[in-house]
């Protein structure tokens, strides 16, 4: 494949990733999804960097991407802590729960509640329990039905 075509394709992929991430971050209200969208944008840029790096034959771009990945990993950890904390405060993962920093006397941005969850919780076949039942509170489920 000729380098120009490779570059064009890679840039297209990067742009698509970036735009998906952008749309995601602007439209989704779930904090984790928003964070994922941000990661998507970051990776789109990383792809672009790698493509240009290949095109120019300069390893610097790829080295930079490795660093970006590393930093993004750390950043993901920190961001998830924030998300967890935010959830602990409000019990919701909705970004629109956090709008107290608006100008005084402005009405709260009216948003519609989340659509009613009419999904049928599937019952999954599971193996019969074996071994010792772990001690703890049975009423608290360790997993949530949905996020």
């Amino acid at each position: 494949m000729i380098p120009a075509t490779l570059l064009t394709n890679a840039l297209l992929v990067g742009a698509v990733l970036f735009c998906l991430g952008l749309v995601g971050i602007l439209t989704r209200r779930n904090l984790i999804v928003m964070f994922l969208s941000a990661e998507l944008m970051l990776q789109g840029v990383s792809v672009t960097l790698v493509a240009w790096s290949r095109y120019h034959g300069d390893w610097g771009g790829q080295v930079l991407v490795v660093f970006v990945l590393t930093v993004a990993a750390c950043e993901a950890a920190v961001a998830l802590v924030f998300v967890l904390q935010a959830f602990a405060r409000t019990g919701r993962l909705d970004a629109s729960a956090w709008q107290a920093l608006r100008e005084e006397n402005l009405p709260r941005v009216i948003d519609h509640g989340l659509p009613a969850d009419d999904r049928v919780v599937p019952t999954w076949p599971h193996l019969s329990p074996a071994g010792v039942l772990p001690e703890g509170d049975d009423s608290r489920s360790l997993e949530r039905d949905h996020v």
């Binding site: 952008l22 602007l26 209200r29 970004a95 629109s96 956090w98 709008q99 608006r102 402005l106 941005v109």
Partner: protein, 765 residues
């Protein structure tokens, strides 16, 4: 002699310092001292009085017996330069109008390289020493009196602090040896006056009177400021005394001995007359002469001791001091001098007429003060040695008897519970014998009853006028002096044989030749026999008119003074209900100053007149040692004819007052009912206040309203409108601050997109 002069040099700055120290202590410790807050101020003023006495005696020992006939002492002048206040180099760059007018800046000497410097210099000469003694002496007595008068007043410490500051300012005013310093302290005493008139500032009349006094004084102060500018332009210095600069240049002071001795040292003509008239305006403001006299009667809203000290005895004489000090300047401008007399005589007569129908005891005294100050102006305007010394003589005796009268009135007011309307009380001699007796002595002195002080000083004033009105009867001496060459002018009059004076008719032409020879070489203006403009007023017929006006004033003075005495102290005893339990003689702390002042009012005139001490002493003042003044000196004499006229006028006045008021109820119908329409004119003070209100106050108020409207509607409106713009923008844009993260992110995206598009547009191929 030398050590004595050195001692005086130390004492001069000490004198104003002591009251200032007293004032500072009163301000700092006043609240803590409480009812003893008078101690620092009284101690400071008392110490200053002692220093003033030392200075007076010290100066007196410096004044020699003099030589010639009449004896003329050598000028005595001690200058104490404390420090240089401000120095502006090269202040005279650019050409000067004064030199264009053909006037030498300093004949025979180099100008000080255009350096403008203001030395803080204090001077001591007979005039200053006399006034310092009066200021601190009367100030001390008034301060002691105030201990009794002001007790229990909530502003007790404030009052004493102000009195002490006033004594400081006034001492500095008369001791300053520089026109700029004089101006500074001219304003300072005005400020003290303002603060003391408005002492009871919660009382609207007092606040209004204080404002009026301050504003009317501004008119005069404006005159003084312009006069000082003109003096600087004309003479290149503002110092009174001669100075030698660090670089050895000699600068002739405006009233320094070099210039005074110099026949051609002073500017005549338009510039000189302008300076003198502006100074007269200043003096009119401070000394309450027409047309700026309107503030003084209202100033009686202040505490009575302040009225006695400031508005009767000392501050209002600042104008007299200024003109006496500037005598050599005035001598070159006979027209301005005559104006001084005309203003004085008119004021004296008008104020006396107004005083005849006043029913407020303090207002009678206030108009009397204006009238007596007019007397001093009349004497000053004669421009003779007799006139100047008579004015200061009258100033001194007036300070004593008018302070006495005011303090007596204060004592009455104190006893009557603040009532000062003479119609509401009477027969008080039974209630307050000491006050009545001392008041009577003061009244006799004011009315000019022989042998009280006022008689002699008034006699001198009238004599000085008479000499000008009838030059052939009195003025032989200056006629002879005038004929001598100017170089020997100082001694000439003395050498001249006085025995033959009656054989030499000194007619109008000889007076003109006096003027001509006196001003040889200055400008050809004064040398001409034909007098032009204002100078044409200097004519014996003018002086004859002024003499008769003054004599009429003397009669009126006697009338209104004794009208007040009879209304207040004779007749059936009547006491207003406001007096309560107060209606008794004042405490000794108040009556003792009255007794001292009564003694001074009774005796000072006799002593000073017959020993001729004051006149001889004052003649050693450099300003009065000018050849032009010296040439007019005549031998000290008692003028029986004038004394008889003056006494007759006083006797008639007292007799009329006795017919109208002696022994009657003071609220019974008064003599003014015979005056007809004139009574209304006098009672309304010649309608000065309504005229000023219509001509000056109302137009200014209208202008103020217009400017206020302009300010509020247009200036403020514009500012407010400009202020509304960001607010409007803000209220539009603030909706974007929604607090939603995603909207912010959207704004960021839109922004980046805009930048990218703009870049793309820029970089399009």
């Amino acid at each position: 002699m030398q050590s004595s002069a050195a001692n005086l040099l130390v004492l001069v700055p000490l004198l104003p310092l002591l009251p200032l120290l007293g004032a500072v202590c009163t301000v700092l410790l006043g609240r803590r001292l409480g009812p003893r807050a008078h101690i620092p101020a009284v101690a400071g003023i008392g110490a200053a009085a002692v220093v003033a006495l030392l200075l007076l005696l010290g100066t007196a020992t410096q004044v020699g017996a003099g030589h010639g006939d009449p004896p003329r002492p050598e000028p005595v002048e001690i200058i104490s330069t404390l420090w240089q206040w401000a120095t502006v180099g090269d202040a005279r760059s650019g050409d000067l109008p004064a030199t264009e007018a053909g006037v030498p800046i300093a004949p025979g000497t180099a100008v000080s390289g255009g350096t403008f410097s203001i030395p803080i210099a204090l001077r001591l000469d007979p005039l200053t020493a006399t006034l310092l003694m009066v200021i601190t002496g009367v100030g001390l007595l008034v301060a002691i009196y105030s201990i009794g008068y002001m007790h229990d007043d909530p502003g007790y410490p404030r009052f004493f602090a102000l009195v002490a500051i006033f004594v400081f300012s006034m001492s500095m005013l008369v001791a300053a040896s520089n026109f700029l310093l004089v101006y500074v302290f001219w304003e300072a005493v005005g400020a003290c006056s303002y603060l003391l008139i408005g002492f009871w500032y919660t009382k609207p009349e007092a606040a209004r009177a204080a404002k009026k006094a301050f504003l009317v004084n501004r008119v005069g102060d404006f005159g003084l400021a312009i006069a000082v500018f003109l003096l600087w332009m004309t003479y290149g210095t503002l110092n009174f005394h001669d100075t030698r600069l660090a670089d050895g240049t000699f600068v002739e002071g405006i009233l320094g001995q070099t210039r005074i001795a110099d026949e051609a040292g002073y500017v005549g003509g338009a510039v000189g007359t302008a300076i003198c008239l502006l100074m007269l305006l200043a003096a009119c403001g401070k000394s309450a002469q027409m047309p700026l006299h309107v503030w003084l009667p209202d100033a009686m809203e202040g505490p009575t001791p302040a009225s006695a000290l400031i508005h009767a005895a000392t501050m209002v004489t600042a104008g007299i001091y200024l003109i006496t000090r500037s005598a050599p300047l005035f001598m070159g401008c006979p027209g301005a001098l005559t104006m001084v007399s005309i203003v004085g005589a008119t004021t004296a007569l008008v104020a006396a007429l107004i005083a005849t129908v006043q029913n407020d005891l303090k207002r009678v005294l206030a108009y009397s003060t204006i009238s007596q100050l007019g007397y001093m102006f009349v004497a000053l305007g004669t421009g003779t040695m007799l006139g100047f010394t008579a004015a200061i003589f009258h100033l001194v005796t007036h300070a004593f008897f008018k302070a006495l009268l005011f303090l007596g009135a204060g004592s009455v007011m104190h006893a009557m519970g603040g009532v000062i309307d003479m119609r509401r009380f009477g027969g008080l001699r039974h209630v307050m014998p000491i006050t009545a007796a001392t008041f009577l002595i003061g009244a006799c002195a004011l009315a000019g009853v022989p042998p009280f002080a006022g008689f002699f000083s008034k006699d001198e004033v009238l004599a000085s006028l008479h000499a000008k009105a009838h030059p052939d009867a009195h003025g032989s001496d200056h006629g002879e002096a005038g004929r001598q060459p100017p170089e020997t002018g100082i001694d000439a009059g003395g050498v001249a044989d006085r025995g033959v004076r009656s054989f030499r008719p000194a007619s109008m032409t000889s007076r003109s030749s006096t003027l001509a020879s006196r001003s040889t070489g200055t400008t050809d203006h004064a040398a001409t026999t034909e007098k032009i403009g204002l100078d044409a007023l200097d004519h014996p017929s003018t002086w004859r008119l002024l003499f008769w006006m003054s004599l009429l004033t003397a009669g009126l003075t006697a009338f209104y003074t004794f009208r007040a005495v009879f209304m207040t102290f004779t007749g059936p005893v009547r006491i207003p209900k406001e007096a309560g339990h107060h209606a008794h003689e004042s405490p000794p702390v108040m009556t003792n100053p009255l007794l001292v002042l009564a003694a001074l009012s009774a005796l000072s005139g006799v002593v000073l007149f017959f020993t001729d001490a004051l006149a001889h002493f004052l003649a050693a003042t450099p300003s009065l040692n000018a050849p032009a003044v010296l040439a007019t000196a005549v031998a000290h004499a008692f003028h029986p004819d004038i004394a008889i006229q003056g006494t007759l006028a006083a006797a008639i006045g007292i007799a009329v007052a006795a017919i109208g008021h002696l022994g009657r109820r003071s609220d019974s119908p008064q003599m003014e009912r015979y005056l007809g329409p004139l009574g209304a004119l006098f009672a309304n003070k010649f309608y000065f206040d309504p005229i000023y209100a219509a001509l000056i106050v109302k137009p200014l108020e209208a202008l103020a309203m217009v400017t206020a409207f302009f300010d509020r509607a247009i200036v403020d409106g514009t500012v407010d409108a400009i202020g509304q713009v960001p607010l409007a923008w803000g209220s539009a844009i603030r909706r974007m601050q929604s607090g939603l993260v995603q909207r912010y992110a959207l704004a960021g995206v839109v922004g980046v997109l805009a930048i990218v598009l703009a870049l793309a547009w820029q970089l399009r191929p």
